[in-house]
Structures are given as structure tokens and as C-alpha cells.
Symmetry: C2
Subunit: 568 residues, 2 copies
């Protein structure tokens, strides 16, 4: 048995423990399902009155009691008729029984408690002491938002008290540096009831957003990308042709114009395809690299919305490269290189890369798949990147590379992706004219580096614990004077840094210097230039970093040189 | 009688002439209405089979014949009952008769032809010879898109053959420099059936768009504007509160999320208001100048869509300034100054400015209106701008300034606007904390300079006859070599200009120099650097402008200095 199965068994058993406690405390509550998750476990209930956060301590206490009873966990197969009788008052369980194949179903038991269950548990409830209940949220029966609304209690569990303590410490840290909290403290963005899940960028947040876009644009320009902008709304017929309507409709928003239905774009590819098709293309134009910072709208259940991590609108740093099969390898290599440049720029050193290969229901012939998969492999190899192979896990339309980064709190995030696409060029009959004057089919590659600008901004905020690097900080430099006497000197410095394009501000308040420092600290301004009588006299500057470190006696020239380096 | 009334009578009579000819040629066609317009006239028909462009010459010929008959035009009032009998087969005319007040209606006659008509004509059809039919388009009865679809024939008419010739010359020129034609020739943007009225920006067009935004951003930054970005979709409740839902609903698109209706924003103000309200504001923050380059979506009838002039989505260069009443004048002054800077930058010297004052149904007290209107006047005066007063033509929520520019073909465009708004601050209960610690109501000013980036781009394309100025041209410099021998020299120049941030390209084709020049000319590249044997030998450059003018023997230094000036 592998370790990850063990922890899954532990957590699934902890879900039973939770259901057991709830059944004892609230006997009229209907049980539905309670799986383990990568982070812990949950159980979805239909209670007679909704659970609140303040109910959790009592439930946890009862769980602890049951754990102390050290009840053995057993599991047996029983005839379906028997199970139907057992759960005759629970329509959810009856539905599940109907859907299980075969004549018997599994029942797990611990003391008086029993639950419909496929199995996989620890030996007795005494092993389940190291758990923590985390929160109550709304959910739906089988995740279907037209289905019965339910109440979900989530928690986590570990084998040892030490593991649980470490988890709680990490969680405290994550809460402290929650990007939603930092976003408010640093006045970066907000969410409003008038547009749930749609971020409002405040001036300071818009600067960070623009810096992220601008930095990538400079790399893309150097790599001969050309930027396009395609409409927010496109007709249903287009989304039907692209396949999004069939596969993705439930996550799309629609509107009507002149009795015709249009979707608000959830992806940018169809727009790029129409631009490609707008006129005949020659082999001379390939590889054609189209970039689009495209605002996509996607439906998410209100219960799973999570600041900028999971919003209903976000900007994809999309790239669509149209090339010949022979150009594929070089293109992949370039994309991998840019991805690494960007991720390392933001201090992500621990990057996991995987290639997902041909699945069973793939389109396109084996030779093309082999060529494309080799192109992905060689592209990574020539960039000196080691990778895993996820056999058969590619999309039906082509193989892909996925990049996962580990942040400073040890959490993994999937950001970049490079996807080869044989399907859309055929589906939209994309062609180019070869040197021989014949028509040939280009390959299309979809790629994103940030993934979503908004989400990447949130990852950065948490990764840097609120201290965004100098080159993307909303205000890079704040000038603080100890008395009004230094104001003219401060004005001089302000003008000098402004002229050179730095985002620099001056604290004009009459607060004492300690107050000024505190205010700049809260906004995580990277550089504070502190000016007092001594600095004025010697025409020097004290540079105070946001971590409290200070450098004394710097000249303007010193500072300008430092700033130039920090800006790069 | 004023001259513009004369021309209106002439054109309205020409519409009758058109209807007369159509009645003779297609007797079963139902007539509806035929007014004069600022540009000419039209008549809306319900024909038995749709008119085509190729029907126009025959109709025009018959009009010319009727004109030569020199039929006197008469006009009489007849009892409604009589008119109802006369038009018993025409439901449109019957509807009109019902809606006219009083017991009689006017009937105009010329020969056998008669039409329901308020009057205002020339003496006889012989005066109507100088007309031209322009096109056939779709329309709706009373412009209501749920109403009966009709066919509109449009034309124009003048008093003298010379005036008509001049008009046709201007029209030819306008057709030649139609931005839709230029947009295609220069590969700037396109429209697609999959998104009617929604522009697709190609890489070259996206550069122009970005340059327009970037130029304005640099002015706004200097004027202490802060940029925000608010969502594309906001709830109906918000639009109901803002008043847009009641007044503007027919031009808005809607979508549903979780059974709640959201509008796709037709304007950016409610978003800015929510950002203002996000936290308490102090007098210290005022004037708070929020800029947003916000993509707005507005419904337009498909028949009136006209490239980037009239599209269904466009980016407003919105500014929302929140200030105290006392700060208003200074703010207006700054806005006028920026507007003039921008318009003059693009060569618009003929600018008409008007102030629209308090209408009858205004909100807010007279003192506040006087103060605001004075602020507008003084703002213009202190910028040395003369203006007209449009008495009583302001919006109910406040007075406004409108800027109209005349382009190189003599056509007028309304672009910028500055609108004082007393209503929304009260409606959304916006406040700020005064120095005394009390709460006070800010004034809100809406302002746009370009109006719509997309429309302004179209105006510029036509105004410059396709020759966009150096600083916003998609490709600013193109390097053309006469033989391959000059390629290394060309590469050097390419690298030098690229490094300095210019948009520079090299013609890599094996075409002869004449072909290379022609290609660069078609794309209206401002500067062609022509390199031959002589240039290589002397390390000089021949600069060819797109108008054919050439400057020989320039050094790289000369060129860099020239470029720096052109870039400003």
C-alpha cells in the first residue's frame, strides 16, 4: 500500500467520524457522501437547520469522544435489498445504491454508526485523533447547481499530532498572507456584491496588473510575437464549431443580439483563428505568433469563488502560434525558455514539468502524435529541463506540457501550459500556401505563461508574503522627511526619480517619521528614502528597506544605480 | 427664410420626386415617409420585391424625366376623412393620419402624384434636377426594430450643378479614404460575421490602438490621474440605481448568472462609483481623478453599423473626477487643456466648443448650477477658448461642454465631452470627510477626450487619408536594400533603431527596390530607409518619405535626431 493511499484512508475514515458525530448530535440530518481530498476531507449533509461555523467545536468535540472509544471499523458487502431497507429514509443513498453495479453494496460500520461505502479505512477510530474541522460551506448534491442544496463540513486529518501542528502553522501563515487580505491592506483590488466574482482593480492594483502585462509584452516582442485584440462576444455558431459550446456551455455566459445568441468568450482561441483565416497565409508568414491578453469570462459556482485565485473573469496571457510541423520543436523550445525566464524572474525555482501523451480517443495519426510529442520532449531537453511523462493524459486534440510551481509556502500551483492542437486547424480548415504553391495544414499551439494575470498576481502576493518585488510594486519609492526643512530636497529627489520613470511618491502628511514609516510599511513600499537634517546637510540619503534594513549615507548616484539594477 | 430651410425644402421635395418615380415604376409599392437629412434625403418604402443598387439608375432616370415635366408643387389641408379614403390601402399613412393633431392633414401634389405631407417645398419639379441617388439599405417602420422592415433609398440634392459636382468630388475622396478600406489595405482590423459590429484588431491595428492609449496615459499620469479597471458585467440592480436601466436598456446586452440578470456595461461610471465608495474618502484625497480605458458594449441596429465609426463595442477613454464644488473650475481648466493638447497633437485646429446649460427639468438648485456653469465658462476662458452657449440643452443632472472637430475633408465630429454630474453623487450617496470632520457631497465630472479609441482611430485614418503620423504608425521605419550586399548594413541600422524603441522592419524579400517601395507605400510606412551601393560606401542613408520626397546623404546621427523629433 502506497503512503498516499494510507492518508486517503485516514481522511476518508475521518469523514465517517464526522458523519458519525453529526448523526449523534443531529439525528434528523441526512447523510450523502464524504470523500477524502488532496487537502483533507469533507462530508455533505442535508441538515434540518443549516450548520454554522460556531457549531464546529461541538461537532469536533463529539468526534474526539468517538475517537477515544476506539471503535473498530468494519466493512462488509450486503445485498442491495438489505441496503435499500437500511437507507429507506435517505433518497441520496437510495440513488447511489441504484447506480452501483452488481447485486451487493459495501457498508462500513463503527459502533452504532454505518454508512454506504466502497471501503478503505483505518483499523479503529482511535487512530483518527489528529483532525481539524475547517469550515462550513454550501454545496449541491453531486455538484449540480440545479440539484439539492447541501451543507458541506470540511476538515483535514493527519497521522501524527506533529503533522497536524505543521499543517496548522502553514495554514495560519497562509491566512496571514491571504491575497484578499493583502489586496485590501495594500488597496490593490476589491470585490463587490454588484459583480460577484468580478475583480475591481484599484489604481495600485492596476499598476501591478499593467507591470505584469508589460514585462511579458517586452519578452514577447523580442520573440516576434504580434498582439491582437478580438471581441468579447462571438456567436454561438462559432462556439459550436470550436467545440466549446458542447463541452463547456455550462461555464459560459450568453447574451442575445437581434434574436441571435452570442457567448461572452471563455477562451480566446476562436478569435485568433478568425484573425488567421482573415486572409490567405503564406509559408513565409509562419511561424505566425499571435499574442492576446484576452479577458475571459467563465462561470464558477459562488461557493468556490476565491478572490483572484478563482474569479469569474480573468485575463489569459494567451499565445497562439501557427507553424509547420517542422517548426514545432523550435517553437516549443522558445516557449519553454520564455516560461522559465518569467517563472525564475519571480523567484520560482522549484518547477515541475510534465508531458501528457496520446490518450485512447485521440484524433490525428500516430506519426503526427509522435512528432509532436518528440517536439515537446526535445523542446524541454534542449532547455535542460527534466520532466515526467503522464501516459495517455493528453487532450484528444494533441499532447501538452504543464508547468507546476512551488511557492514560498510549499504550495503547488499550475500556471503555464503548452498545448499542441491538431484539431482546430482541421476543424476550421486553416491552411497556408507552401513554397510549391500547394495548400498545407498548419499546426496550432496554445500557450500561456502566467495562465491568468489576476491569479498570478494573487500567487505572487502570497508567495512574496505581500512584498511585491521592486519592479512591479505599485509605489516603488516613498520619500519621507523628518521635518519640513527637508521638503525642497525631497522635491528634488521626487522629480529626479519621476523623470526616470520610477513610481515614486512623497509622504506630505505632518505625521512624525515613525508614522510615515509605518504607513509606507503597511503598503509594502520597497524603498523608503528617509531625509533628516544630516542627510540634507551632506546631500545624502538613508535608504530604508521594508524589512527594516537601512543603508546610510548614500548619494543620489548610488541610489540611481541601485534602482536601475532593481528595475531589471 | 434661412438658407438651411431652403435646402431642406429642396431635399424634402427631392424625396417626393423619388417617391413619385417609384410609384410610376413600381405601382404596388407602399410609401411611408421621406424626410430631408443634414446630408440629403431618403424615402422608406415597402416594395413588393426588394430594391437593389442596380435599380437606382432607372429610378434616377425617371426622376429626371419628372423633373423636366416642371410639374408645379402644391400643398393643401384636407379633412382627415378625405385623407383616410385617399390612403385606405396604406396602413402606414393611416397610422400617421391618426397621430396628427386636429381635423385636417396636409397633402402635397405634383401631377398625378400626391403624398401626406406637412409642407415646405420648392415651386416646381424643374428645380430638382441636381440630385443624386446614393444607396439602398434596410430600415424599420419608425426606426423600431420590432416593426415592419422597410427599404430605404437615400440620396442628396443641391440647388446648382456645381454644388452637386463638389459634393460628388468630396464623396469620392471620402470613399477613397474610407477607414474600412484603409483598415483592410493596411491590415489594421477586420469585422467578421461571427461578431457583427465587434472589431477584430490585427497586430498593426493593435499597435495604433495601444499608441493612442499610451499617449493619453502619459498625459493623464502627469495630471495625477489614477487608472482603474472595473468589471464588464454588473448586476441589473446597479444599472437600475444608476438610471441606465430605465433610460438606456434597449441599447444594453444582458446575461444571466445564478438566475440573476447582469448587464454588459454600456458605460464605465457605475464601476468608478463603486471604487469611490469602497472606503471612506477624505477631503485630502480630492480631487480624486480616476481614469478607465473601459470597453463598453452598446446595441446598434445592424443597418447603422459603420466600421469603427459606429460599432457595437468600443473603448471609452473615460475619466471620472470627484471633487469639491470649489475645485471644479480648476479641474475643468485642466480637462480643457488636456483636450486641446490631444486634439492639436493630431492636427485638429478647427475646434468648436459649446456649453449646454440648465434645462427645465433639471435637478439640483440654481446656485449649484450657476457655480458649475460658471466653472465651465471660466475653465474655457482661462484656456483662451471661445465657445457657444446652448441654452437649456444640458442633461438634467448637470451642464456640459462638447468639443467638435473639423477634419481635413471638412467634416465635423463630436469627440470630447466634459459633463458635470450632481445626480450620481446624491443617487449613490457619495461623501467625503471635510477638514471639520463632517460629511459632504463631492461633485462628479465625467469626461472623455477621444470619446472612443476605436472611433478616434477611424477619424484619424480618414483625416490623415491613411497616413498616420510617425509616432502612432504601426511600422515607423522600413529598411529597403537595393541588393543583398547592403543587408549587413541594413541589419546594423535595424538593431540601432530597435534598441531605441522604434517600430522598425526590414523588407527581406527579393523584390526589386521599386516593388519594396510600393509595398511600404501601400502600408503607409512614414519612413523608408533606402540603401544602395553608394549609401553603403559612404555610410549614409537615403530617407524616402511616403509622399515620395527624398533626403539624400543623411548620416545615422542625422536620422536619429530626426526620429526623436518625429516621435514627440
Amino acid at each position: 500500500m502506497k503512503p498516499e493511499q494510507d492518508i486517503n484512508n485516514l481522511r476518508h475514515s475521518a469523514a465517517h467520524l464526522l458523519a458519525h458525530a453529526v448523526s449523534e448530535l443531529y439525528p434528523d440530518t441526512k447523510l450523502t457522501i464524504g470523500p477524502s481530498t488532496p487537502e483533507g476531507f469533507f462530508y455533505d449533509f442535508l441538515p434540518t437547520t443549516n450548520f454554522k461555523e460556531q457549531d464546529l467545536p461541538a461537532i469536533a468535540e463529539r468526534m474526539q469522544e468517538i475517537a477515544e472509544r476506539k471503535l473498530p471499523l468494519t466493512h462488509e458487502q450486503v445485498p442491495k435489498a438489505h441496503a435499500r431497507e437500511l437507507y429507506k429514509d435517505n433518497p441520496f443513498k437510495l440513488e447511489l445504491i441504484d447506480q452501483i453495479e452488481g447485486d451487493t453494496v459495501g457498508i462500513a460500520r463503527q459502533g452504532e454508526f454505518h454508512d454506504l461505502c466502497r471501503g478503505g479505512h483505518v483499523e479503529h477510530t482511535g487512530l483518527l485523533k489528529n483532525f481539524k474541522l475547517l469550515n462550513v460551506s454550501g454545496s449541491y448534491w453531486r455538484g449540480n447547481r440545479d440539484g439539492q442544496p447541501l451543507q458541506r463540513i470540511s476538515g483535514t486529518a493527519f497521522f501524527t499530532p506533529k503533522e497536524l501542528r505543521m499543517y496548522e502553522k502553514r495554514r495560519q501563515e497562509a491566512l496571514k498572507y491571504d491575497h484578499r487580505k493583502l489586496g485590501k491592506e495594500q488597496d490593490l483590488f476589491s470585490f463587490h456584491e454588484e459583480g460577484p466574482g468580478f475583480p475591481f482593480f484599484h489604481p495600485r492594483g492596476k499598476i501591478v496588473y499593467d507591470q505584469l502585462v508589460g514585462y511579458l509584452q517586452s519578452l514577447l516582442r523580442a520573440a516576434d510575437y504580434q498582439e491582437i485584440a478580438t471581441p468579447m462576444m462571438l456567436s454561438d455558431e462559432l462556439w459550436k464549431r470550436s467545440g466549446h459550446y458542447d463541452h463547456y456551455r455550462d461555464n459560459m455566459y450568453f447574451s442575445e443580439i437581434d434574436d441571435r445568441s452570442f457567448a461572452i468568450k471563455p477562451m480566446n482561441c476562436p478569435g485568433a483563428i478568425l484573425v488567421y483565416k482573415e486572409r490567405p497565409r503564406s509559408y513565409r508568414e509562419l511561424p505566425l505568433k499571435l499574442a492576446e491578453f484576452g479577458l475571459a469570462h467563465r462561470y464558477e459556482l459562488s461557493g468556490v469563488l476565491h478572490g483572484l485565485f478563482r474569479a469569474r473573469a480573468f485575463t489569459i496571457d494567451d499565445g497562439h502560434v501557427f507553424c509547420t510541423p517542422d517548426q514545432l520543436e523550435e517553437q516549443i523550445k522558445q516557449m519553454v525558455a520564455i516560461t522559465y525566464t518569467v517563472l525564475k524572474k519571480f523567484g520560482f525555482e522549484d518547477i515541475t514539468v510534465g508531458i501528457s501523451t496520446k490518450p485512447e480517443d485521440a484524433m490525428g495519426d500516430d506519426a503526427l502524435w509522435d512528432k509532436a510529442t518528440d517536439a515537446l520532449k526535445h523542446g524541454l531537453e534542449s532547455a535542460g529541463v527534466s520532466f515526467e511523462i503522464y501516459e495517455g493524459e493528453g487532450a484528444f486534440y494533441g499532447p501538452k506540457i504543464e508547468f507546476r510551481i512551488k511557492d514560498s509556502m510549499g504550495r503547488e500551483w499550475q500556471c503555464g501550459t503548452i498545448q499542441v492542437d491538431f484539431f482546430q486547424p482541421q476543424n476550421f480548415d486553416l491552411t497556408y500556401v507552401t513554397p510549391e504553391g500547394t495548400r498545407a495544414r498548419p499546426v496550432m499551439v496554445h500557450r500561456a505563461i502566467y495562465g491568468s494575470i489576476e491569479r498570478f498576481m494573487a500567487i505572487l502576493l502570497e508567495h512574496y508574503k505581500g512584498r511585491l518585488p521592486f519592479f512591479i510594486a505599485p509605489v516603488q519609492i516613498k520619500i519621507l522627511t523628518i521635518t519640513d526643512e527637508q521638503k525642497p530636497y525631497a522635491q528634488e529627489l521626487l522629480a529626479t526619480f519621476k523623470e526616470r520613470g520610477y513610481r515614486v511618491a512623497m509622504d506630505e502628511s505632518s505625521d512624525p517619521i515613525s508614522g510615515k514609516i509605518k504607513a509606507a510599511q503597511l503598503q509594502q513600499v520597497p524603498w523608503m528614502l528617509v531625509l533628516g537634517a544630516k542627510e540634507l546637510e551632506n546631500k545624502t540619503i538613508t535608504l530604508r528597506h521594508r524589512d527594516g534594513k537601512q543603508e546610510f549615507g548614500l548619494t543620489l548616484d548610488d541610489l540611481l544605480k541601485k534602482a536601475e539594477i532593481a528595475q531589471k
